[in-house]
């Protein structure tokens, strides 16, 4: 087939225009003083999508297990905050949008450089060791921020408040587009090859160090840009915003969505950001209730695992049994919660907001027990899939990444 430059350029130009228009529309919808809470949620969701998709590039696509992503997020955020407070305070006041763009750029550069410095030596390490080093980097960055006077120590730094849903959603879309396009290119295939088998891909001529470092630096740079935008959205950065828990939250998003699947990661990022956010408002409950729910979850998981292990019927029968187990779990949870609350020992009140993190943790463990490849596995959203779902015959079968 002949290469048609006009068509090639046309589709890309249209995609870019559609993306920008979409971001502008989002920005417009979110304007207004009465929508400040939703604007904040939207901004953070966009930031988490960027973080999760960029970690997915490192963890899911290249297969390098990094659990210190918050370090690069933090480097970007502090870069943005420090520059806005010192060198660029004039620009931040007069041309906020331009500065925000520059801040994201500076954040990306700083985090990318940090990624390069960390990545070059440590990516020689395999699997678990890399995980440990990245964990350590995360801790070191937090400890430095906690102890440096110029970085506000444990209290934190305040900076100019510049909210822009436009730039945040654009960053998220750019991050997704870069990852998706990378996967369709020869470079991306090298990334996937490294994930599947390092030794084999090295034997086929893939430069392991280069691929790993590229992925790491790219992922870190996106996290840094997200960090700079976060600093200005919240107008304040402090060390607890970038603790190990944040790294784990981002990791949970990647794993839940399906390591390697950009679609899955994006959806999981939005869902997993919103659930804990909404759980802040949970009322006080009696201690028996969460215990009952926990028992229900255990029952459901045990049943689902039994089905997974020993049931070999048709797909629809299997689905029926799975749904049945979930139903039994819900009933058990309900009954146990009611029964346990009658026991005096379980009647003391507990703040429901305390269950934000346990819910995340339970999600991780249950997911690993039932579906270790994540909800989407390695699958991606594609138009042909939608057409198939709508009952049409697909013109081409896309290869799932």
């Amino acid at each position: 087939m002949q290469f048609n430059f006009g068509k090639w350029f046309g589709t890309r130009a249209i995609s870019v225009i559609v993306a920008v228009l979409f971001c502008l529309l989002l920005d417009k919808v979110m304007q207004g003083p009465d929508k400040s809470y939703y604007r904040f949620l939207m901004s953070l969701a966009g930031i988490y999508v960027t973080l999760a998709v960029s970690l997915n590039l490192i963890n899911g696509i290249t297969g390098q297990f990094s659990i210190g992503h918050a370090a690069f997020y933090q480097i970007g955020a502090y870069t943005g905050a420090v520059l806005a407070a010192n060198k660029f305070s004039h620009l931040a006041a007069t041309k906020p949008l331009l500065w925000l763009f520059l801040a994201a750029l500076f954040g990306a550069i700083a985090a990318g450089l940090a990624g390069l410095i960390v990545g070059l030596p440590s990516l020689r390490l395999k699997g678990d060791y890399l995980a440990v080093v990245t964990l350590g980097i995360g801790e070191i960055v937090t400890i430095i921020a906690k102890n440096q006077k110029s970085l506000g120590e444990a209290y934190g730094l305040s900076t100019a408040k510049i909210e822009s849903v436009f730039l945040i959603s654009l960053l998220a879309i750019v991050c997704i587009a870069v990852c998706r396009n990378l996967l369709k290119s020869a470079h991306g295939l090298a990334f996937l090859a490294v994930r599947e088998d390092e030794v084999a891909s090295a034997a086929m001529g893939v430069n392991l160090t280069r691929v790993k470092v590229t992925a790491f630096v790219l992922g870190s740079a996106f996290a840094g840009a997200a960090g700079a935008l976060y600093a200005h959205t919240k107008a304040f950065v402090s060390p607890p915003d970038f603790s190990m828990d944040v790294s784990f939250l981002i990791l949970t998003m990647v794993v839940l969505g399906g390591t390697g699947s950009i679609t899955g990661t994006t959806i999981a990022a939005v869902v997993l950001f919103l659930i804990p956010e909404k759980m802040r408002d949970l009322p006080y409950v009696q201690m028996g209730t969460p215990l009952g729910v926990a028992i229900g979850i255990i029952v459901a998981v045990v049943l689902l695992r039994k089905i997974q292990e020993s049931f070999h019927g048709s797909a629809s029968e299997r689905l029926g049994r799975n749904l049945g187990s979930v139903g039994i779990g819900i009933v058990v949870a309900f009954v146990m919660a009611k029964v346990l609350v009658m026991v005096p020992a379980f009647q003391s009140m507990i703040n429901g907001a305390l269950f934000r993190m346990p819910v995340l943790a339970v999600t991780l463990v249950v997911l690993m027990l039932l579906r270790p490849q994540g909800i989407f596995g390695h699958h991606e959203f594609s138009w042909s899939w939608v057409q198939k779902l709508l009952g049409k015959k697909s013109p081409e079968t896309e290869v799932a990444a």
């Binding site: 699997g127 964990l135 346990p358 690993m368």
Partner: protein, 390 residues
């Protein structure tokens, strides 16, 4: 004998160095108990058990509840502990940790043993979060607790003085004592004629100043005398702690090197599949390894919270857990003597950083050392660098 007093580099006080080294060694001994659990589990399963720090945390709760049961709780009636108290606390901590380790392995790690390694690593992280934040919700509302120092009957110190205080200074300070006494007497005699201690007449003021001057002079001499000495204080409780640790390690050595189960453990760590073909029951060996590692962590937890007076809350296992893990990697993960060496280095390094005046960076030093070691010797200090063969 090295003259530590005359050494003065970058304003560091070298007379306190020996004490800090001893403290570091004692802390390292506890880290070693925890590090052994990481390293043994890694040896047989090639899994970093991130939940090990939480097993440690549960162990310290076990020790605390044991002390509460014996009347050392809030509003408890017990006055002083004894050998038996400490022993019961130790056993309880080991029991709680051991059961926690067993349950975690049986119900979380075993079902996914055949999945990719990343799945078990994520499960480990999930369990760690679950135990921390679940503890925050259910364990005494997650409030900070501590084991009362009353349980420890061995609170006095052995004092070693490798370098005695400067005799001339001590003599000078002692010689000033009569003058101090005289000034005090004169002032006390004057006091009834004054309105109060704080509103003095000129005469009273003169006497007061004279007393302050001579006292300051004596204190300064005494201070000089103390800093010229090098003393090492060794609390008896910590000595017991060290002895217990050494006994546990000898027990572990015997278990691993001399028993059938130990041989099975070593076989599994050399080759997982082949050992299964040779008739070793993998499930039993892995369960046993988890219980063994967790029991050691429990012992470490009891001693950490009793003799080092560390506070207990659902997150109190994270810091020692991470440090012990770093120690295990430092010594070469999977290598049992390596874990001990790494842990002691870690404890000493941590105390040296505090000694040098950077105590807020004491948690960072673990990672700095770790990264440095991994970059230059990825297998750890005592580990071997394996090349992957296809």
């Amino acid at each position: 004998m090295l003259d530590l007093v005359s050494l003065n580099v970058a304003g560091l006080d070298f007379t306190t160095l020996p004490q800090q080294l001893v403290n570091g060694f004692l802390l390292g001994a506890i880290y070693a108990l925890v590090a052994l659990g990481y390293t043994m589990v890694y040896g047989v399963l090639k899994l970093i058990n991130f939940a090990h720090g939480e097993v440690f945390m549960l162990g310290s709760y076990g020790a605390m509840f044991a002390s509460w049961m014996m009347g050392f709780g809030p509003g408890g009636s017990a006055v002083a502990g004894s050998w038996v108290t400490l022993l019961l606390m130790l056993l309880m901590a080991m029991l709680v940790s051991g059961s926690a380790g067993f349950v975690i392995e049986r119900f979380a790690y075993r079902p996914i043993r055949n999945h990719p390694r990343i799945a078990s690593l994520i499960t480990a992280i999930g369990l760690s979060l679950l135990l921390q934040y679940g503890g925050q919700a259910f364990l005494l509302e997650g409030k900070k607790q501590a084991i009362t120092s009353k349980v420890n009957p061995f609170s006095d110190d052995f004092v070693f003085t490798p370098k005695k205080a400067d005799a001339a200074l001590v003599a000078q300070a002692a010689a000033l004592q009569p003058e101090v006494d005289a000034a005090q007497k004169a002032f006390d005699a004057r006091l009834p004629f004054e309105k109060s201690k704080f509103e003095l007449s000129p005469e009273g003021d003169r006497l007061n100043k004279a007393l302050a001057e001579i006292t300051a002079k004596r204190d300064s001499l005494q201070n000089q005398a103390t800093t010229s000495a090098v003393t090492i204080r060794l609390p008896k409780g910590k000595l017991i702690m060290l002895t217990t640790t050494i006994l546990l390690m000898i027990g572990l050595w015997y278990l691993v090197m001399k028993t059938r189960m130990g041989r099975a453990m070593r076989a599994v760590s050399v080759d997982f599949n082949a050992s299964s073909l040779m008739g070793i029951n993998l499930n039993t060996v892995i369960s046993f390894t988890f219980i063994l590692g967790s029991v050691l962590a429990g012992a470490g937890a009891m001693m950490y919270s009793t003799f080092q007076s560390a506070p207990i809350d659902p997150f109190s296992g994270t810091a020692p857990g991470v440090k012990a893990f770093v120690a295990a990697v430092l010594g070469g993960i999977g290598n049992i003597p390596g874990a001990v060496v790494g842990a002691i280095l870690m404890g000493v390094a941590e105390n040296l950083v505090t000694w040098a005046g950077y105590s807020s960076y004491r948690d960072a030093i673990a990672f700095v050392i770790l990264i440095a070691v991994l970059l230059f010797k990825p297998g750890g200090l005592l580990g071997s660098n394996k090349v992957e063969k296809v």
